[in-house]
């Protein structure tokens, strides 16, 4: 498929650019690995003091946190649209995007990818392996496939919410302050939702469904059967929200006012 080919072309170009700045790349990889290691230690330290909350053991909470890191890392690698308003609307870069024969959102995704965020996947896996081994999580043959599916679902949820917020830029001039807030709210998905009150739980499930990035899918691997319905809803919610976000984006593009020059 053409979009797939383009994706790899851009990814190859991205790596090439990175490779030309050798020292820069080394430093960056080094700092990425270091920050992931710090992250990992931080998680263990923070959760070292927790015991069970609302029926979740310490290791289960760590596992959820680890799972969350995986879709979050993929999201971070491909959906760098937190500065969409300044970069594309205010500076008028959107003009250029719109004169090319590829879907505008896809262009922004491939233009702005930051593959080094994918190191987060490694950290997430490490955290899950650590917690999983202590919990004796057993995996069936189909679990790796389900894992990919649930991770993709979670990534789409995250992406959808940020695409929706970016789309607001087409109508209004200043939604930038919402972006950092969303990153904060997104963090709620890292913890079991039933520790929150019902309203927040409802919000995190159906309005800003960050719970589908962490707790719900992770619950499947922890064998928490009471959450299975939610776990299996993850890909559905992901696809539905993302489709909705793309529709809003497309409507937004027709409202694009351009930057004066």
């Amino acid at each position: 498929m053409k979009y797939g080919q383009l994706f790899f072309q851009y990814a190859a170009q991205y790596m090439k650019t990175r490779l030309t700045y050798r020292t820069d790349m080394m430093v960056e990889i080094g700092s990425d690995l270091l920050s992931q290691a710090v992250n990992f230690l931080f998680i263990l330290l923070v959760f070292g003091h927790t015991t069970a909350i609302s029926g979740w053991s310490r290791d289960e909470i760590i596992f959820i946190y680890g799972f969350f890191l995986v879709p979050f890392a993929i999201f971070g690698a491909f959906f760098n649209i937190w500065d969409f308003n300044e970069r594309y609307i205010v500076k008028g870069e959107m003009d250029r995007i719109l004169t090319r024969p590829i879907h505008s959102l896809f262009q922004i995704v491939i233009e702005r990818m930051e593959l080094e965020s994918l190191f987060g996947v490694v950290t997430g896996m490490a955290v899950m392996v650590y917690a999983g081994s202590r919990l004796d999580v057993s995996l069936a043959w189909y679990d790796p496939f389900l894992f990919v599916l649930l991770v993709l679902g979670g990534t789409l949820v995250y992406a959808a919410i940020f695409v929706l917020i970016a789309s607001i830029s087409f109508w209004s001039d200043s939604p930038t302050s919402i972006m950092p807030m969303m990153y904060n709210i997104g963090n709620y998905g890292r913890y079991p939702v039933n520790i929150y009150n019902n309203i927040i739980r409802f919000l995190l499930t159906w309005v800003l469904p960050f719970a589908f990035v962490g707790v719900y899918p992770a619950a499947y691997f922890l064998g928490r059967t009471e959450w299975y319905t939610y776990a299996f809803l993850t890909p559905v919610i992901g696809v539905a929200f993302f489709a909705f976000a793309v529709v809003m984006w497309n409507v937004g593009v027709t409202k694009y006012r351009g930057a004066g020059n």
Binding site: Q13, D95, R257
Partner: protein, 338 residues
């Protein structure tokens, strides 16, 4: 043959809110806002035939950029019909933009950090240009624009002139039948300008490429375009041949005399033009006077003869009224005999 660009009653309105003054005004703005609907492009109608090179001119804020953005599918029109190359630019955007090339002088199409040829390679993928077509066409473009030696340099290391030539090559990579150029020669030196003009003429002759050009540099328009469309406050105020613009508004000539005697005044010059279709206007300096005359050999000779025999002069120049003057006059006085 069908028109390349067909625009009917095209209109684009922007809603802008006018803020009240002062802190008190700012609080009132929070509650109720005064919105004003401003038409940036006000029901314009025109068409462009395949192979034409059209100059699209107007002052800043006349609606040039807005209308070009509607023609290229970037903005959605408020109302009216746009057909470009047989398509609706906004509705069929992805299909449509394959058939156009765009150069925005102030904005780069190329990737800042990577070598020019890498940018070309990505664009080739984006536009899905087959290898053999790409090779023959682009080799020619690269040669004509003389950018061969620049291909392996990153864009950020290029000078403006070099970059602009690369931009042009990038816009023509998929050999589009229609090219939009928005200020392509802004800030460029004369040699680069000439090279770009030559190249555009060549493309037009070879591929019958239609070109719509906006620029503030009217010499570009004079060198390239036979036809101009002039905009003012969102309306087309002139659409026609560049030549007839000159013959309608720029019939006369200006004869500039620099007198040896600084005491020359309008009063003592006035009788010299008696019975002739001419008038004096003050020149740029104190002892310089300009006679505005009809473009007629008898009148011109007569004026020069009379003045030279009556006063001592140190310099004499005959100007044709430039397109720039004509256009300035049109904007200042409005179109009266259009």
């Amino acid at each position: 043959m069908e028109n390349m660009i067909e625009v009917k009653e095209l209109r684009k309105e922007f809603k802008s809110h006018s803020s009240r003054s002062g802190l008190k005004g700012a609080f009132r703005d929070l509650l109720t806002r005064n919105y004003k609907i401003v038409p940036a492009v006000n029901d314009i109608t025109f068409s462009v035939k395949p192979g034409e090179m059209v100059g699209y001119i107007g002052e800043n804020g006349a609606g040039k950029s807005t209308s070009i953005k509607m023609l290229t599918g970037i903005l959605t029109p408020t109302s009216g019909i746009v057909r470009v190359n047989g398509m609706d630019p906004h509705k069929e955007r992805e299909q449509f933009v394959r058939s156009i090339g765009v150069v925005f002088g102030q904005r780069s199409q190329l990737w800042w950090d990577i070598a020019v040829q890498e940018s070309f390679r990505l664009l080739k993928k984006v536009y899905n240009v087959p290898d053999d077509v790409y090779n023959t066409h682009m080799n020619h473009v690269i040669e004509s624009l003389d950018i061969g030696p620049l291909l392996d340099k990153p864009v950020r290391k290029l000078s403006l002139g070099q970059r602009m030539r690369c931009e042009l090559a990038a816009a023509l990579l998929h050999n589009p039948p229609l090219l939009f150029l928005d200020e392509p020669t802004i800030g460029l030196d004369v040699l680069v300008k000439l090279k770009i003009r030559e190249f555009l003429k060549e493309m037009n002759a070879k591929y019958n490429t239609t070109v719509l050009l906006t620029t503030h540099d009217l010499s570009d328009i004079e060198a390239l375009c036979e036809r101009v469309v002039m905009l003012d406050e969102g309306k087309i105020i002139y659409d026609g041949q560049l030549d007839s613009l000159r013959s309608n508004w720029g019939e006369g000539k200006q004869i500039e005399f620099q007198f040896a005697d600084t005491a020359v005044t309008k009063q003592n010059l006035q009788p010299l033009l008696a019975e002739l279709d001419a008038a004096w206007s003050p020149g740029e300096r104190q002892n310089v006077w300009v006679a505005n005359v009809l473009n007629d050999e008898h009148v011109i000779s007569e004026v020069i003869g009379r003045v030279v025999s009556a006063h001592k002069i140190t310099d004499l120049k005959v100007h044709e009224i430039s397109i720039e003057d004509i256009i300035r006059n049109i904007y200042e006085e409005g179109v009266t005999n259009g």
